[in-house]
Structure formats: structure tokens, C-alpha cells
């Protein structure tokens, strides 16, 4: 089953924040959602999950809540951990759509939690108190929580913000491993270099509209970078794919 959205429009109050966006994601894809602040990336993802009222149609939002939670995992941008609970219990929350209670995990659930913690490189932290971790460690624990859900689809909102370079790359590689297993990932990113390098496809948003959708080298053109982000970048297409380094603000036209 694929992720299909048609003409998704979201109004917050009377302001349209997402305007008629259509998007299809097939299994095996890592789709990077890029765009300046306020472009509507988070709102689009929340709407497609059915967390916001919207017009249009979306395959995820039409599912009943529990089946949706077994189909798609959501990693929000604000890394909230309200109580000082152990890391392992926090990650086990990802098993609740599968009928688990974090107080009593089956062997399969415990195995899924272990796999997720290992993928996020947080297994060594399993007995620590989640609220006492550093910001980057919390981000990885919450990633593990989403991975433990073991869903065919993962939606992540700026999951690598605030991570060190190694863990930024490791996280992007986890998404690629997920895709290699036939799952799909939709990830909002601000790091265009990593987006170009690790996403199989990019979707560019500006002021609520989708303005480009395709291979990284076709989306991150000099024209789009100047028009949408207002920057000039050094870009070179190599055998490994597009390399991109933002350089300076674009001249105002």
C-alpha cells in the first residue's frame, strides 16, 4: 500500500497554511521535505496523519486511529518527554499500537525495543532516565521510539536538528536501511547537503505550495535555491550524487 495524498489544503484560522498539495510515496523511498521556515512542512505532515482538519484526501488520515498507528509512525519536532521514565520504557511506548502495555511487554515487543535502540545507537543508554539525557541523546531515544513501532511508513519532523555530524549521518542511514527493507520515510529537513545526499527524492515547499518534486539534482537547482531559499550554493554532481554547500544570500532581484 502506498501513501497517497490529493489536494491537501489546511487552514489555520482563516490563513491557508498548506495549499492543494498532492503527494505520493512508494515503498522503498526516502522523501525529503524541504522548504524555508513557515513553508508548511510540519502542517502538511500533521494533516496527512489526520492530526489536523484538512480538505482533500489522504490515505493515512482515512484509516482508523489504531490501524494508522500500526501503519505510520510520527516523530514530532518538539522532543517532549514529560516524566523521568527509563529509556527502555519510553521506547516501549512505540509498541502500544501493537497492543503492548509498557508495564508488561511480550518477548516480541522487547525484541522490537532492542532492535530500535540498537538502530538509534542508544542500547547502552537503556536503563538511563530519559529526561536526564542530553538534547541529542533525547532525539535519538525518540527516534528509537518511532522505530520500535515497526511501521511500513515513518514521518519525521527535523529529526537531525541538534545532532552531532556522526549521528546526523547515522540517522539518515537508518532511514535508508528502513527504505531498503521496503518501508518508506518522509522526513522534513533543513540541511540541504544531507537532504541531497541521503534522500532518494525531494519535495520542495514554498508558502504552503509544493513547488518542486523529484530527484535531488532536479529539485535543488540554482534557480530554486535562489528563488525559494534566497541563497547561492556551490553545487556539483558527482558519481555519488549531488554535493551541495550553501555559500551566501542570493542577490535580491
Amino acid at each position: 500500500m502506498a501513501f497517497v495524498c490529493r489536494d491537501v489544503t489546511v487552514n489555520l484560522g482563516s490563513t491557508p497554511v498548506v495549499k492543494s498539495v498532492s503527494l505520493t510515496i512508494a515503498p522503498g523511498e526516502v522523501v525529503g521535505l524541504i522548504g524555508p521556515n513557515g513553508a508548511g512542512k510540519t502542517t502538511l505532515m500533521r494533516a496527512t496523519l489526520g492530526l489536523l482538519p484538512f480538505s482533500g484526501s489522504c490515505s493515512l488520515a482515512e484509516m482508523p486511529a489504531t490501524s494508522r498507528a500500526r501503519y505510520a509512525a510520527w516523530l514530532p519536532q518538539d522532543r517532549e518527554i514529560a516524566w523521568p521514565i527509563p529509556v527502555e520504557a519510553l521506547v516501549a511506548l512505540g509498541r502500544t499500537p501493537h497492543g503492548a502495555s509498557i508495564s508488561r511487554l511480550t518477548r516480541q515487543d522487547a525484541e522490537a525495543v532492542r532492535r530500535a535502540l540498537e538502530k538509534a545507537d542508544m542500547w547502552a543508554f537503556r536503563d538511563r532516565i530519559a529526561t536526564q539525557l542530553s538534547g541529542g541523546e533525547k532525539a535519538r531515544v525518540l527516534l528509537a521510539r518511532a522505530l520500535a513501532q515497526e511501521t511500513p511508513m515513518l514521518l519525521a519532523d527535523e529529526p537531525i536538528a541538534g545532532l552531532d555530524p556522526a549521528h546526523q549521518i547515522a540517522t539518515m542511514e537508518v532511514f535508508n536501511t528502513q527504505a531498503a527493507d521496503g518501508r518508506s520515510v518522509l522526513v522534513a529537513l533543513h540541511d540541504l547537503g544531507l537532504a541531497a545526499r541521503f534522500c532518494s527524492r525531494l519535495v520542495l515547499m514554498q508558502a504552503g505550495r509544493k513547488v518542486a518534486d523529484g530527484r535531488p539534482e532536479d529539485v535543488l537547482t540554482a534557480h530554486n535555491l535562489a528563488e525559494v531559499f534566497g541563497i547561492d550554493a556551490y553545487r556539483v554532481e558527482t558519481a555519488d550524487g549531488l554535493l551541495l554547500q550553501p555559500l551566501k544570500l542570493a542577490a535580491k532581484t
Binding site: R46, L49, L51, A65, T66, R68, A69, R70, A72, A73, W74, L75, P76, D78, E80, I81, A82, W83, P84, I85, P86, A89, L90, L93, G94, T96, P97, S101, I102, S103, R104, I129, L142, R145, Q149
Partner: protein, 329 residues
């Protein structure tokens, strides 16, 4: 898991012990053996009457009301994700008190015995209707808190108005003493009145444990995990309101139990909000039973009020909580 079961067993045994001690404390000053045998085997004598009609309902109410306050506090803290939340934040205890005050002031209490608790329940009903209207379908935790604060403030102001305009000093006196909260001189009628509300509230709230666990990640993530937030909020508010309305109706306002007990037990349950529900219910029963024993032992002939006792014991814990969280951002 084992540690959690051990904790529940320990709290269960402690509340059972306090329940028995509560049965044995009283001005009659009879030996424990005689008291218990009079309670269990019974005869037509006055001791059986004291045990069955005075001390037994008092001990049952102590356990039930304590459990209601502890469970209500744990539920509110879990939902609001805030250790400073307590069941009174909904304004239900305030409006219940207002209902009771009106019943005393108008003299309804003199016409039939249960007028006071019924008026208090009506007050609680008004609060919960307003709450669900203001913060039911839309509007998240913040709307709920603000609505609760507004309702509390209004109820408090109206209560003060009644006291202010009271032409009868005896009624004013009665009102003030009633508001301090007490379990003295309650009968099985009170037990029969409070118990269904407690049972209803517990049935609504205890199954919400998993949803509250998921809320650790925030409302958005919990909803994406399949938690139906609106349903959870409505059930939780209705459950807490039923329990706290019932408790206030028969015992007056008993503060700090709902705030302190979940806080005290949080670490022992690994801070999991779902586990904290059961543990706090038992812990609340222990605290109120202990406080009710204390008021009878410390000043046996001065009718020391239960709500005064819990606040005096509770406030230092609250200060301790502030001391520990200060500087933690």
C-alpha cells in the same frame, strides 16, 4: 514489574493495617480485642453500635475518599503532564463546596439529613457541565486548566459572598468548619452516597493508564500512537469530577492529598503515569486513613479537622517539591 507488584502489595497491606487501626481509635477507649469482636460477632450492646455505625463507616470513607483523591491527582497530573496539578484544579471541589454552603445557609440541612451532600453533588454537576462545554471537544489541556481556574474562582467568590451576607453567625460558623473537611460522625448513608461515585470514577479512569503513558510523548505523538485524545479528556474529566464531587459532598474539602501522594510515589513506579494510578489510589487511602487517625489521637477532644491535618502535613512536602525542582529549568 516485580518491584511494582511488591509496591502495590505493600501499599495494600499498609492501607489494610491503617483501616484496622482506624477502627480501633475513638473516645470510647475500648480494648482492640473487644472492639473487633463486637464489630465482627456483634450483639445488641452499645459497643457493637459504636463499631458498626460510627467507626466502620468512618474507616470506609477514609479509605474511599483517600483513594479518590490519590487517583484523581495521579490522573490529572498524568493528563496535564505537570506534577503541580491536583484534582481541585478542575474547580469541582470548589463548586461542590458552594453547593454545600448554600444548603447550610438556606437551612435545607435542617429539613433533611442528606440535603448537604446532594447540594454539593449538584454543585459538582454544574462544574463538570461547564468544564465539558468549555474544554470538551476542542481545546486542549490549557483550556481545561483555564476553565478550571475560572470556575474555582467564581465558586470561591460566591462562597465568600454567602459568608459575607450571612445574617446568622451559627450558619457561618458551621460553613467554615464544614469547609475544613472531616470524616467525623458520618454514617453508612454517606458511604452509600460516596461509593457509587468513586466506583464510577475509578471505572472511567483506571482503563486510561495506557493513554496516559503515551501522553508522556506529548499530545501529538500520543494521538499518532492511536490514543483518542478527546475521548480520553472527556472520560478523565468526568471520572475525576465524579470522584472528587462525591468525596467533597460527604467529607468537605480535603486538600493536598491529590497533589502530594502521586508526587511521593512517582519514583517508585518508574514515573510511569499508568502505574501511578493504582499506586496513588492505595497511597491516598493510606494518607487519609493515617491523617484521620492522627486527628483523633493528637487532640481527641477538640474535633481537629481532617482537611487542616492533611494541609499541615502536605505543605512541607509541597515546599520540598519546590525546593527540589527549583533550578531544574
Amino acid at each position: 514489574m516485580m518491584a511494582y507488584v511488591r509496591l502495590l502489595v505493600a501499599l495494600g497491606l499498609l492501607s489494610l493495617l491503617l483501616f484496622v487501626v482506624s477502627l480501633l481509635v475513638g473516645p470510647a477507649g475500648v480494648s482492640p480485642r473487644l472492639s473487633l469482636s463486637a464489630l465482627i460477632f456483634g450483639d445488641a450492646g452499645p459497643l457493637t453500635l459504636v463499631m458498626r455505625e460510627i467507626r466502620l463507616p468512618r474507616a470506609i470513607l477514609g479509605a474511599v475518599i483517600g483513594a479518590a483523591l490519590g487517583l484523581g491527582g495521579a490522573a490529572m497530573q498524568g493528563y496535564l503532564r505537570n506534577p503541580m496539578a491536583e484534582p481541585g484544579i478542575l474547580g469541582v471541589s470548589g463548586t461542590a463546596a458552594l453547593g454545600a454552603v448554600l444548603a447550610i445557609q438556606t437551612g435545607l440541612t435542617a429539613t433533611f439529613a442528606l440535603a448537604l451532600p446532594f447540594a454539593a453533588l449538584a454543585g459538582a454537576g454544574v462544574a463538570v457541565t461547564l468544564l465539558l462545554f468549555l474544554a470538551g471537544r476542542r481545546g486542549g489541556a490549557l483550556t481545561l486548566i483555564l476553565a478550571g481556574i475560572a470556575i474555582s474562582a467564581l465558586a470561591g467568590a460566591l462562597t465568600s459572598l454567602v459568608l459575607n451576607l450571612s445574617p446568622n453567625p451559627f450558619a457561618a460558623n458551621e460553613i467554615i468548619f464544614w469547609m475544613m473537611g472531616s470524616l467525623a460522625d458520618r454514617s453508612f448513608l454517606h458511604v452509600a452516597l460516596a461509593l457509587p461515585f468513586f466506583a464510577l470514577g475509578a471505572c472511567l479512569i483506571l482503563p486510561l493508564g495506557r493513554g496516559l503513558d503515551s501522553l508522556t510523548l506529548g499530545e501529538d505523538a500520543a494521538e499518532a500512537l492511536g490514543v483518542r485524545i478527546v475521548r480520553l479528556r472527556v472520560l478523565l474529566v468526568a471520572g475525576v469530577a465524579a470522584m472528587i464531587g462525591g468525596a467533597t459532598a460527604v467529607a468537605g474539602a480535603i486538600g493536598f492529598v491529590g497533589l502530594v501522594v502521586p508526587h511521593l510515589l512517582r519514583r517508585t513506579v518508574g514515573a510511569q503515569p499508568g502505574r501511578l494510578l493504582f499506586a496513588s489510589a492505595l497511597g491516598g487511602a493510606c494518607m487519609v486513613l493515617a491523617a484521620d487517625i492522627a486527628v483523633r489521637l493528637i487532640l481527641p477532644d477538640r474535633d481537629l479537622k481532617l482537611g487542616v491535618m492533611t494541609a499541615i502535613v502536605g505543605t512541607p512536602f509541597f515546599l520540598h517539591l519546590i525546593y527540589r525542582t527549583r533550578g531544574r529549568g
